[in-house]
Amino acid sequence: MNRAEKKFRLYAILVIFVLLTVLMAVINGVNFTMASSDADMLTQMIADRQGAFGPIDNNPGGMQFQPDQDNNKDFGMGPMGPDSPEMNESLRYFTVAFSENGESEEIVAFHISAVSEDEAKEWAKELVGQTSGWTKWTYRYRVYRNQGTTYVTVIDQGRELLPSFRILIISVIGEVLVLVIGWFVLLLIGRKIYAPLEEADRKQKNFIANANKEFRVPLTVIDGNTELTERRYGPDDQTRSTHRQVAKMNELVDKLGSVGIFDEENMNRSDISLSEYIKDALRRRSEEFSEKGIALTEDVSEDVKISADPEAMSRLIDELIVNALKFAKTKAEFRLKKENETVLILASNDADLPDGPYEQAFDRFTTLSNAKEGDAGLGLSYVKQTVKAHNGRATASVNSGIFTLRITL
């Protein structure tokens, strides 16, 4: 399994994980919200009846408040909801009424077996300052006032929440199972899914490699024959032009040959001083910048060392410099610094390009709108490939008219 295929499988399983998690979160979130809403409806009904549930006749020994007839007329409606006629028999709750001085006046706790009157009183005291919410995991409470009396009603929603918890546990187990099965399925059929992508990439590389090879001998012959013509008849504009065009083609062929050769497997890594590499390269080509009227600035930290393929890294730096030489209008800057364990190379220049990200600059045979005639669009493709082979990252963007290549290694 190659690296790209592993990446493909990881992304596939990640997508499945995210989709399932969102689905499970929505289902469980809605379920829990509805359970909370039902509980709130019940506590509201109790609050509307001043601390007791159902008709006053159903609360012998309870608080002797007059039931709200308007609300009471709806009581008992609906077979399944909180206003079901059976709710009167199954609702587990207690209400504690507190006078203005904080003393408990009345306690209704005979509708619940798990809580004694004393426990209800203590518990309600803790909730007096609140308004509503969950307490002790499965109990929903509401605090309300009426004619100077503060009521605290707590209802037990344990049984009502149990299905929600079961759905949550089943969701989690289901998601884990789907991920495990999904991973095995991807292992089994991933090859088939990935094969067309790999094939397309292989064909592209083969095409480039073959085209590259097929150009090589004819170019040598053209250049040789031009040399012979010059010897016979003397050099003229046509022969010089042919030499120039052949040189351009040679460069293109050379770049084409480099694209696709470097990958992680055939890196010949060794410890190199990137600082020296960049300084040397800039020193060698500084005159070219002067000739083109480009102000060159370098801010290269001393002794930044990395483990890299020396030849590839040297070529990469050359490509960055060539890029700046081709596209800078008046200024170019090269920076190298080390932040913690990360090495950062910044190559920037002023350019006639609108602001924004320019990731397409790294695509093979892609040129930006400021490209000049003859640009093959391969230099930055090589940069990206080499950076990738060194497990780094390369980005391109324009900000305030400054084109910046940012490489982290």
Partner: protein, 123 residues
């Protein structure tokens, strides 16, 4: 100086035969591996310029034959420089990757002959 230039492309052979003869000396060309083996057995050459893709005979066999006759070899390849570096022949023989200029061929010949001379002196 006598040069044997072996490559499958006839235009290349013709062009380089003329250039090499003008600058360096007699040049024999061949586009057939069997013929090269035969030429190496019968004639004396100062240097062999050999394309890796010469048909009919594997280029390594030709190199072996040239090595036996103490003839230095320059190997021509259509692989990029980097790929050439990955092959072990680089350790023993001069490589030239297409496309190249005539000046590079001349430089390679001079370098190869100088190295061969040094080896002979040491021997």
């Amino acid at each position: 100086m006598k040069i044997l230039f072996a490559a499958p492309d006839r235009d290349l052979l013709e062009c380089y035969r003329k250039l090499l003869e003008e600058d360096l000396g007699e040049t024999v060309t061949s586009f057939d591996g069997t013929q090269v083996i035969s030429l190496l057995s019968t004639d004396d050459f100062d240097v062999l310029i050999l394309d890796k893709k010469l048909p009919r005979v594997d280029y390594r066999k030709i190199i072996e034959r040239a090595d036996n006759r103490m003839i230095p070899v320059i190997v021509l390849t259509d692989e990029p420089e980097r790929a050439s570096l990955l092959t072990d022949e680089k350790l023993k023989f001069e490589h030239l990757s297409y496309p190249f200029t005539f000046d590079r061929v001349k430089d390679a010949i001079c370098k190869t002959l100088a190295e061969a001379g040094q080896r002979k002196e040491k021997a």
